[in-house]
Assembly symmetry: C3
Homo-oligomer: 350 residues x 3
């Protein structure tokens, strides 16, 4: 069990202690579930109602809430960031079965760094280069010439296809497929001819990729995911997409081929982005939006229609087809009314 | 081959025989494809046209259609439910290669119930507890401390990550990932800090989970799927989501973190539900809806716009941006018209 | 390294050489990246700006652009198709580790054609029939009675479930699941009863299936994918769906059960298509459309609303709920205005 004093935690996150800095903390939990010896946090005002009754030995709070904290408080500017940093302290190190499991199949031409783990039934192809402390779980398949930087972690049942290049400290969750062929097709009189996908995928440092997400290789050049990008589950990244550093994308979003997304963007879940667009830095797109044009300015963007009781919705749904007609009829009404006002005015002046 | 008399089938589903109860039935098929010796069913009126010409030896029908049934009939209240119950009779038992395949890697600390099957190349982590008659196919990976109740079935290439708890009679299809990290990130001046995902996933009895669906573990507390929930393929369930008993969700739907869905709900396919919402019991949401607010009353809810020929759609699509302006211009027209009527009325009275 | 003269390439694609047909070509790249000895192509006018400065030894162009091509030119009707055909020449043959890897588990009742490859840790079930030159990568699981035609290729970590039938030259990317149970449920007073999925999946020749896509087996009859169909990543094909020959579907699209899609269709990404519909041949549906009704005529179809800055969108989003009311108020305004004009006209005539 990992234990820290409240003062040590405050130092770790650059915060201030209100109360007893010698209090021992050995875990983190929610306001509702925390017990003595644990620290909790208040990062979202909707949970404020649980503050008075928490059993936590200390609570991470912003200055505004320090006065009403019934226990010790750790006062910080950003309680959610402080919570993340402290929770990471309590995770402890993962128990690693260091070494190559006897059932793994590792090509003779693969080069393995120090303390590399390769789990049961994983397959490492020709020319692979695995950095120090890379941890590969069970059932992973690495094609030819895959490179993974130091401290990379592949959970289980992951496929990295030929030529995929991955930076340092990258975390990949189960079921991910990186480097499969992009959807490149040329239409020859109705029959689709496959366009060979000859590029690869390059992924930067500190990237995280969620379960069952797919990232296609490039057609001629590479698909690129820059440093610090965070991808949720079941995301599709098409061939030759370029995602700028520190952009986060939520689950089930699809980015079509050759689109370039800027740095520090936040894309919601189940968004659809068509191909060959450019999206600027610092763009936020809310969930389920449809993006059909490039975005050149930072800001928050949305599309979609509201949820309604089905019978109401059905009427409005049908009227959508008459939206342009409604526009024209409004214009006509305005013209007719102006005409009428004009003729009445003339009559008054006669 | 499994064979039953029509009378036995009627007893099994609580229905009545019209015709010869001694008729032998050894299979089930559609009205169009059934042959002699098979039973069919009419559960959807669009297939009524096939009733007259079916070769089935008997047809499961509601009372209203019994008179026009050319063969023996099995009359029930709900033909689709009766079809499901009878089809289950004819499935027979799956041929199970009981026992642990020599290529499977099973931790010494795992506890296996009676008649457990573990398929080729599957990996069972430390502390696993598998109930009686659990069947695990090939290529599955179970992390530490996974528990699966009696009669559980994992098809193939499935990953259950650390601490996942699964009830009895749960069926999981290939490619499913349960218990991978939720998408928890704290933003520290543009840089994302990973929030450790310390919770787990708890799944009740009689749950079915479709191919390549992902269910994330909780951040601090658990993600919970209650008894009898049915999930289709490629669904994303975020961290700390809670799905009430007997709710069914169709394919490609995404439920963001901490949302609570009630019991007996039906959610269509490709729906997006944002995080931190509460959805009441007995709510139906039609396919492709966007859900951005909590739903407090049972009922059917929808969103979305109609499919149109592209050139028509394009005009209406563009007008959507002027919807609020149109509203204001209608109000202005109404005010102007009222003003005009008012002044004309005054003039008439002068 | 594969090398061809420009004249040989012209003959291969039925094009004409402008310049030196003896020029040696040993690779293909983009206009921006190509070097001496490589051929490039201009298939999309947005890349025309790179034509003047390309270092390529030859460029595949349509006749209109031949005059401004600074290097040798290969003039063809459809440069993208010619690019695809030429790029396929330069791919070369994949290095195949022919034979069955010792770690693979192959049922004694499986029948293997000539030159079949089965990768590490793959599992081939009872009754499998694999044609000549079938290549199966690592970690694939084939259930009972799966058949794969000649020259089929399964990349890695793929599951083909019981009875799946696949034609010749089919390419399947990692993580694909074919033949898992469809989402068949009968509701018995709130409790879902599983409807056994007794059908299978039949896939034609020259089909390509993208990473982590799922295709469910039929309930009673089969799910069918005809010849030449191309499916992108993370697509869901429900039970008993029928997809006509040479139709292409982009990523993250869901097709619900029993829907029949025609031949030569193009379906965009993240489209949702409800069940039991019929879609004609030669239908194009743009990305993110919602399809709730059958489509009986060829053409391009769309739905959805435009992306806007969030504050603008929020106003229009709210007004959508009043669309039917707006329609009725416009009609009322028109009636009132007509009434007013009528009474003024009468007054003038008095």
């Amino acid at each position: 069990m990992i234990t820290r004093t409240l003062a040590e935690l405050a130092q770790h996150v650059g915060g201030q202690v209100q109360g007893d800095g010698a209090t021992l903390i050995s875990g983190i939990s929610t306001l509702q579930s925390a017990q003595g010896g644990q620290i909790s946090f208040l990062a979202n005002s909707r949970y404020r109602k649980f503050l008075q009754t928490t059993q936590a030995s200390a609570v991470i709070v912003a200055e505004d809430y320090a006065a009403e904290c019934p226990s010790n408080a750790l006062i910080v500017t950003n309680p959610y960031v402080a919570y993340a940093r402290i929770a990471n302290l309590f995770v402890g190190s993962l128990v690693c079965d260091n070494g190559v499991h006897p059932s793994a199949v590792v090509s003779a031409s693969a080069r393995l760094g120090a303390r590399v783990t390769i789990g049961p039934h994983s397959v490492i192809g020709e020319g692979a280069v695995l950095g120090n402390d890379v941890w590969i779980g069970a059932g992973c398949v690495l094609g030819r010439n895959v490179a993974i930087g130091a401290d990379g972690r592949l959970e289980a049942n992951i496929t990295l296809w030929h030529g995929t290049q991955i930076g340092q400290r990258v975390l990949i969750h189960p079921g991910v497929v990186i480097g499969a062929d992009g959807f490149g097709l040329a239409n020859d009189n109705g029959i689709w001819i496959k366009v060979p996908q000859l590029g690869s995928v390059r992924i930067g440092d500190d990237v995280e990729i969620g379960a069952n997400t797919t990232i296609d290789c490039g057609a001629l050049e590479d698909t690129v995911i820059e440093d610090g990008v965070k991808l949720d589950n079941l995301i599709q990244i098409g061939h030759n997409v370029h995602i700028g550093a520190h952009t986060a994308i939520a689950a089930c979003t699809a980015v079509a081929g050759s689109t370039k997304i800027g740095k520090y963007c936040g894309i919601g879940g189940t968004v659809g982005i068509v191909g060959h667009l450019e999206i600027a830095d610092h763009v936020q797109i809310t969930g389920m939006s449809m993006v059909t044009q490039s975005i050149s300015a930072a800001g928050v963007y949305s599309s979609g229609t509201p949820l309604e009781p089905n019978s109401h919705w059905h009427k409005n749904f049908a009227r959508f087809k008459q939206l342009d007609e409604m526009w024209r009829r409004i214009k006509q009404l305005e013209a007719q009314l102006e005409q009428l006002n004009h003729s009445l005015h003339q009559k008054d002046n006669q």
